[in-house]
């Protein structure tokens, strides 16, 4: 049942120009940044040779590329998540799903899965950009994998938060604004503090993503992302179930 909902989500997503436009624009921006980094690398190359143990292409081109991708996804996610539940409500199609013999959990997980498949497409495009470097250089695959894992986990966080925001309203634009606001706050929650041990640091999405970006896979970061995603998925399910009772 989850797969049927996910399939339906992808079908309706790709039937609209939104998905294609987003993919194209994101790729354009990322390719531009990729080229910029490549240029920097080529300029620096002569100096790099003189350092012992110099950073490679993966550190100089791929890691910053992934860091930017996370920001681009942060901005794009609200556009994708706002329709998930809010638009179903507005078009009176939520009744269609609720009347079917499936649970709210199926609906929420199906929608989440559909979105994650879309994100996987986007991530694979970024990976393709990075892999293209293989034609003229070596890649640090460990660092690349750590970046992919980090991007995937942070995309899951964005998706679950956006999905929850979409559950709260029948207006897609409010869902989008809410998701963007909440994500930006979480992204930069540590900006007010310089103290490294501050609790705000632990709540910042960016801080946890930075570790993956540098090639450090820490269980604390993984736990944070997984718990974050689960929390908002459970909240979404509870919210929709509660609606049946409150009316």
């Amino acid at each position: 049942m989850i797969l049927i909902i996910a399939h339906k989500e992808l079908r309706t997503l790709f039937a609209s120009p939104l998905a294609w436009t987003l993919l194209a624009l994101m790729q354009l921006v990322l390719a531009w940044i990729f080229l910029g980094r490549l240029d920097t690398f080529l300029e620096m190359q002569s100096q790099l040779v003189q350092i012992s143990n110099p950073p490679g292409v993966t550190e100089i081109i791929v890691a910053p590329l992934f860091a930017t991708t996370a920001v681009v996804l942060l901005i794009a996610t609200p556009l994708l998540t706002m329709r998930l539940i809010a638009e179903e409500r507005r078009n009176h199609t939520m009744i269609f799903l609720i009347s079917a013999p499936i649970s709210m959990t199926d609906i929420v997980l199906g929608k989440f899965l559909g979105l994650m498949i879309f994100f996987s497409v986007e991530i694979s495009l970024v990976v393709a950009l990075s892999i293209s470097l293989l034609s003229g250089s070596m890649l640090d695959f460990g660092l690349l994998l750590s970046n992919i894992a980090g991007l995937f986990l942070i995309a899951a966080c964005f998706a679950s938060l956006g999905l929850y925001m979409s559950c709260l309203t029948a207006q897609p634009s409010i869902a989008a604004a809410g998701a963007l606001g909440a994500l930006l706050v979480l992204w930069a929650v540590d900006i007010t503090t310089n103290n490294i041990d501050s609790i705000a640091q632990d709540f910042s999405l960016l801080k946890h993503y930075e570790n993956f970006n540098r090639g450090i896979i820490d269980t604390f970061d993984i736990a944070y992302f997984v718990l974050f995603t689960l929390t908002f998925l459970v909240l979404s399910i509870r919210r929709l179930d509660g609606e049946r009772i409150r009316g």
Partner: protein, 250 residues
């Protein structure tokens, strides 16, 4: 399971629904046998749609119980909902899907096995006059056709109970006649609840009429019984719902 239960497809007892301090449905009992078409009537705001939302699991009742084919809707919603087909007031359509895609989705969600989907799809399109529109986008269809797609999604999984909320709205007279004969046909094998404001429609297809007013059942009898009393449905409706003073205790 007693014999009575196996004949009854819907049995709802003392349904009540409050929205804050406002009570939309006060006390409604509803029973429906297989092969029966029930006309569910009432003035605007009487609580028809609220009742139907409760019968289809879209809204939890404040108190009362609903059983669909002997399965408790509140305890085992997923098992009970397989037996229900529901067309809400506004047909729940995805404008960006084609008719075929949408109906296949409806069938899959109602657990129609993948072998049966194609025959079910053909059959339902034939029934609802959608033969040539399979590849059209739903968004490009006229209102009447959208309404037909809405009915098609409610019956594609061959449910025991079909609940239609004003299904003939926006149809031309020919389509209306077709849909009514479709409902009559469905009523021979299934149970149908038909909510509408068009009384001649009720007289032509329904076996029994239940009129609700201010969240309570004020009339519940067969059309045959009504005819024997020599009162027309319209008179009855007006008498029961127009002003409360003339309301007789039934």
């Amino acid at each position: 399971m007693t014999e009575k239960d196996s004949i009854l497809t819907i049995s709802a007892h003392s349904l009540r629904r409050d929205f804050g301090t406002y009570t939309a449905v006060r006390e409604i009992n509803l029973e429906l046998k297989r092969g029966e078409v029930l006309g569910f009537l009432g003035p605007n705001g009487a609580g028809k749609t609220t009742t139907m939302r409760m019968l289809t699991g879209n809204l939890a009742p404040s108190s009362g119980s609903v059983e669909i084919c002997g399965i408790d809707l509140l305890d085992k919603p997923r098992n009970a909902k397989i037996h229900i087909g529901y067309l809400p007031e506004t047909p729940p359509l995805y404008q960006e899907l084609t008719v075929n895609e949408y109906l296949r989705l409806a069938a899959k969600l109602h657990r129609v096995s993948s072998i049966k989907i194609y025959s079910a799809l053909d059959e339902v399109k034939l029934h609802c006059g959608l033969k040539d529109t399979g590849k059209h986008l739903i968004g490009s269809l006229s209102k009447g056709y959208k309404q037909r797609v809405g009915i098609a999604q409610a019956i594609i999984h061959d449910p025991d109970v079909i609940i239609l909320d004003e299904p003939t709205i926006g149809l031309d007279p020919n389509q209306m006649r077709e849909i009514l004969s479709l409902i009559r046909e469905l009523g021979t094998k299934h149970s149908v609840i038909l909510s509408t404001h068009i009384l001649p429609e009720v007289e032509s297809v329904c076996d029994r009429v239940q009129i609700i007013h201010q969240g309570k059942t004020v009339f519940n009898d067969t059309l045959f019984g009504l005819k024997q009393k020599g009162i027309s449905l319209e008179e009855m409706f007006a008498q029961l719902t127009l002003n409360n003073e003339t309301l007789v205790n039934l």
